[in-house]
Amino acid sequence: MIQRLLFFCLFGYNATVGAAGMGLADAWHLLARTGFGPTWPEIREFAALSRTEGIDRLLTASRVQAVTPPPAWVAVYPPPVALRDLSPQEQQRRQQVKREQGRELRVWWLTEMRNAPTPLTEHMTLFWHNHFTSALPKVSSPVLMYRQNVLLRHHALRRFDVLLHEIAKDPAMLIYLDGAVNRKRQPNENFAREVMELFTLGEGHYREADVKDAARAFTGWSLDRETGEFCFRPAWHDGGTKTILGQTGRFDGDAVLDILLAQPETAAHVVRKLWREFISLQPDEAEVKRIAEEFRKQRYEIRAALRCLLNSPAFWASAHRGVLVKSPLDFVIGLQRQLDLKTLEQNQVVQRAAQLGQNVFAPPNVKGWPGGEAWLDSRALLLRRQIVQQWSMARRPRKPLAQNLDFAIKPWIRQFESADWREAAQRLLLPLPPLRQPAAILSPIEIVQALLLDPVYQLK
C-alpha cells in the first residue's frame, strides 16, 4: 500500500515539482522535445534534477562530433567526371556507387541519432538540416553532404551568425542553391532569394530588388571542382554598387549576410521556428520578441536562445504537453530507443523514415519538411501503425521471425522495478493518458502494443 502511494506521488500526471527534482512528467517532456523518444533510465536521471539543472545539463553536455564512425569513403572527395567521358557501364557503376554511399550516409546519421550520448546535438543538427536545407539528389556528392552535416553538427549549438556565413560558403549549399554557378554576367538568384526568405528574414521583409542585388553580391562564390572546397572567383564577381534593404555599397556576400543578421526580423524568424520545434505550432509573438532580443544580445549564441526558450513558462505549460506530432525520425528512432531494439537493421529504419516522409539528406524542397499535422495523413498514420506492429512483434511465440528483431517483453518490464509496470510503461510511452485504455486482463505484450498503437503515442 505504501509502495502504491509512493508510486502515485511519483507518477501522477499532474505531479508537482518536488524539492528533489522536476519529476517524471517534466523529465519526459524535456527529453522528448529535445531528443528522440526518451528511455526509462534517462527519464529517471532527469527527474531528479530541477528544470534549470536539467536544461543546463542538456546544453552544456552536448558534443560537437558524432560518436558513430562515418563510412571510410567520406575522407576522399572524388572530383566529378564528365559523363560523356564514361562508357554507359561506367556511368551506371558510378550511379550505383553514389546510391550505395547515400544509403550508407543515412544509416550512419540515423545510427548516431539512436546512439548519441547527447541527443540534443543530433536534434539540433537535424533542425539546421531542415533550416539550411540541401539535398543529395541535386548536390550529387555524398562526400559534400557529409561535410555539410559535420559543419551543421559543429555549429548546432554555437553561433547562428557564424553558421550562416559558413553555410553560405558550404560547397553542398553552393551546388544546391546554384551559388556555384552564380556569375556577374547573368546572376542566378536562387541562393539570394532563399537566404532572405527561409534562412534569415522570412517572407515579406524584403523586396524583389533586394534579391536581385544580393544575387550580384554573391557572384563569384564558387567551389573548386578538383578539391570540393569553397573558392572565390574574382572574374565572376560583380564588384559594383548594390542596394540591400536600403543600404548601398560595394557589398560582397559576407556584407549582405551581415546586413541580414543586423535585422531584428532574422532573430525573430529563427526563434519562431525554434518555438514550433520545441513548444507549439502557434508561437507567442510577445515571447518570440523577448527571446529574439536575448538571442541578438548574446551575439546569436544558439544555446542562449534555447536556454531562454526551454526555461520559458510556455515550454512547461500543461497546455503545451503532448501537442506536437512526432516527426518520422522522432517516431522510428524513438521506437528503437524506447523498446531497446538493438539488432534492428538500420537500413530498414532509414527506409521506413523515408516512407513516412522524412528521408534525411533529401528534404522535399528548400523549405524543408513542413511538419506538424502534415506528418500524419491517412497514408502515414497507417504506415506508422504497421511499423509498430512489425517492430514490437519480435520474439513472440508462434510468429516466425522474418527480420532480425529483438524486442523482448520480459526484460523490458523488469527495467521499471515497480509495483505497477503498466503505469510506468504508460508514463514512458505516452505524454497524455491513452484514448483507448488497454484492458488489464491483456497480456503484457498486448498492453505495450495497445499503448504504441494509441493515437496519443504519435504525440510528444
Binding site: R183, Q186, N188, L324, S378, R379, L382, L453, P455, L459
Partner: protein
C-alpha cells in the same frame, strides 16, 4: 493592377468570357475534378512555344526550341516536342490550352506562390485552407461521397488542405489491409487539436476503406515511375466511384525548378506529363467517365523569359495551364504573353487570373456559386 482594370482588360481582349451564373447546389458527385500540380514552376514559354515571335529566340539563345522541332498547333504557337503525345487529344478537341494565367502582384517565392494558388488567396492575403476545402465546407458534399478529395502520392493535400473530408493514399490494397488493423473508434473527441486530427484521420480511413474497390484491371498501360503509379492509383479510386464517390483527385509531378540546364530536365518532365495525361484519358474512357472528368494542371509560376547564364531560367510569373476532358471545349484560351511588355523583374504580365479557372470549375462544372469560396466574383472561362 487593380481588379477593376484587370476585368476591363479581359473584356477588352475578347477572351470569350461568359456572364456570371450563380446557383446554390452541392457539387455533383458525377463530375470529377482531377488536379495535377506541376511543382517547382514550369516554364510555360517552352511548354507552349510562341515560335513565330522573334523575341522568343532573342531572349533564349540556347533554350529556344528549334522551329522544326515544335509541335505546331497554329501559325504562332506550338507544343514542346516532348508533348507530342498530346497532339491526338488536341485534334480530338479535348485539350484546352489556357494561356497567360497568373495573378496581380505576383510573388516569386515557390512556397508563397504555391500557397496563393492552392488557397486561392490574393497576393497579400494569407489563407490557411485550400480552395477545395472551402468549397466542400460551403457546399456540403452529397452523402454518397466517401471523400471530397483523394490526394494520391507522397505529397501534401494542396488545395484540399484543411478539408475534414480528404484522404491521402498511395495504394488502395495496402490502404485497406492497414485499415483493418485500426480497431474501434474512440468514443470521445479530444480537445487537443493534434490528437483530434489523428482521430479524424482514423475515422476517415475506416469509412473509405470499406468502400474503395481495389485492383481494377485496366487495358490501358500506365507509364513507369512514380507519376505513372500515382495515375494508376488515381484511376483505381475513380473506378470505385459506383460504390464510393470522390469529387476530386489530386496528384503532383515535382522537379520543375530549372535554374540550371533546363532543357533536358524540362523535356523529361514534359514527356512524363504528356504520356501520363494520354494514359489517364485512355483509362477514363475505358471506365466510361471521360465526359464527366475535368483534368487541370497548375504550377506556382512560370519562368522568366530571358534565360540565365546557366542555360536555366529563374522564377517568373504568368504561364500556360492545361485543361482536358471529354466535355472540355478544346483550343486556345486566355491570350499569348506579350514579350515586349515585361515588368521590372523581366517577367510578363498575366492576362487571366487563375481564380477564373477555379470559378469555372465551381460554377460551370459543379454548378455552385463561387464567391463564398473565392472571396470575390471572378469571370468564368468558356472551357466547358
Amino acid at each position: 493592377m487593380k481588379r477593376r482594370t484587370f476585368l476591363l482588360t479581359l473584356a477588352g481582349a475578347g477572351l470569350g468570357l461568359s456572364p456570371i451564373r450563380s446557383q446554390t447546389a452541392a457539387p455533383s458527385p458525377n463530375r470529377l475534378l482531377i488536379l495535377i500540380a506541376l511543382k517547382g514552376g514550369n516554364d510555360g514559354l517552352n511548354t507552349l512555344i510562341p515560335y513565330a515571335d522573334p523575341r522568343y529566340r532573342i531572349l533564349r539563345p540556347d533554350l529556344a526550341i528549334p522551329v522544326d522541332q515544335v509541335v505546331k498547333l497554329s501559325e504562332q504557337e506550338g507544343l514542346h516536342p516532348q508533348l507530342a503525345p498530346l497532339r491526338e487529344v488536341w485534334q480530338a478537341g479535348e485539350l484546352a490550352l489556357v494561356r497567360g494565367v497568373g495573378y496581380p502582384e505576383p510573388n516569386l517565392s515557390h512556397f508563397r506562390s504555391m500557397d496563393i494558388w492552392e488557397t486561392a488567396s490574393a497576393s497579400d492575403e494569407t489563407l490557411t485552407t485550400g480552395w477545395l476545402a472551402r468549397c466542400f465546407a460551403a457546399h456540403s458534399p452529397p452523402a454518397n461521397l466517401i471523400a471530397a478529395g483523394v490526394a494520391v502520392g507522397n505529397d501534401a493535400a494542396g488545395p484540399l488542405q484543411g478539408s475534414a473530408n480528404a484522404l491521402t493514399l498511395t495504394d488502395i490494397a495496402l490502404f485497406q489491409q492497414q485499415a483493418r488493423w485500426l480497431g474501434l473508434a474512440p468514443s470521445t473527441v479530444p480537445p487537443n487539436p493534434a490528437l483530434r486530427h489523428i482521430v479524424d484521420v482514423e475515422n476517415r480511413i475506416r469509412q473509405a476503406a470499406s468502400q474503395l474497390k481495389r485492383g481494377h484491371r485496366f487495358e490501358t498501360t500506365f507509364p513507369e515511375g512514380p507519376f505513372g503509379r500515382a495515375l494508376r492509383t488515381a484511376c483505381e479510386v475513380i473506378a470505385s466511384r459506383k460504390r464510393a464517390s470522390v469529387a476530386v483527385v489530386h496528384l503532383s509531378l515535382p522537379d520543375f525548378d530549372t535554374h540550371v540546364r533546363q532543357a533536358p530536365r524540362q523535356g523529361r518532365l514534359l514527356r512524363q506529363l504528356a504520356e501520363g495525361l494520354v494514359s489517364l484519358r485512355a483509362a477514363l474512357r475505358e471506365l466510361g467517365v471521360w465526359n464527366e472528368a475535368l483534368v487541370m494542371t497548375y504550377s506556382e509560376f512560370g519562368r522568366r523569359p530571358q534565360q540565365n547564364a546557366n542555360r536555366g531560367t529563374d522564377h517568373g510569373t504568368a504561364s500556360i495551364q492545361f485543361v482536358l476532358g471529354g466535355s472540355v471545349r478544346g483550343g486556345f484560351h486566355g491570350a499569348a504573353l506579350d514579350l515586349t511588355n515585361l515588368d521590372g523583374n523581366g517577367n510578363p504580365h498575366f492576362v487571366l487570373d487563375f481564380r477564373s479557372l477555379y470559378a469555372t470549375v465551381l460554377e460551370k462544372w459543379w454548378g455552385v456559386e463561387s464567391r463564398s469560396v473565392l472571396g470575390a466574383q471572378f469571370e468564368t472561362v468558356k472551357l466547358i
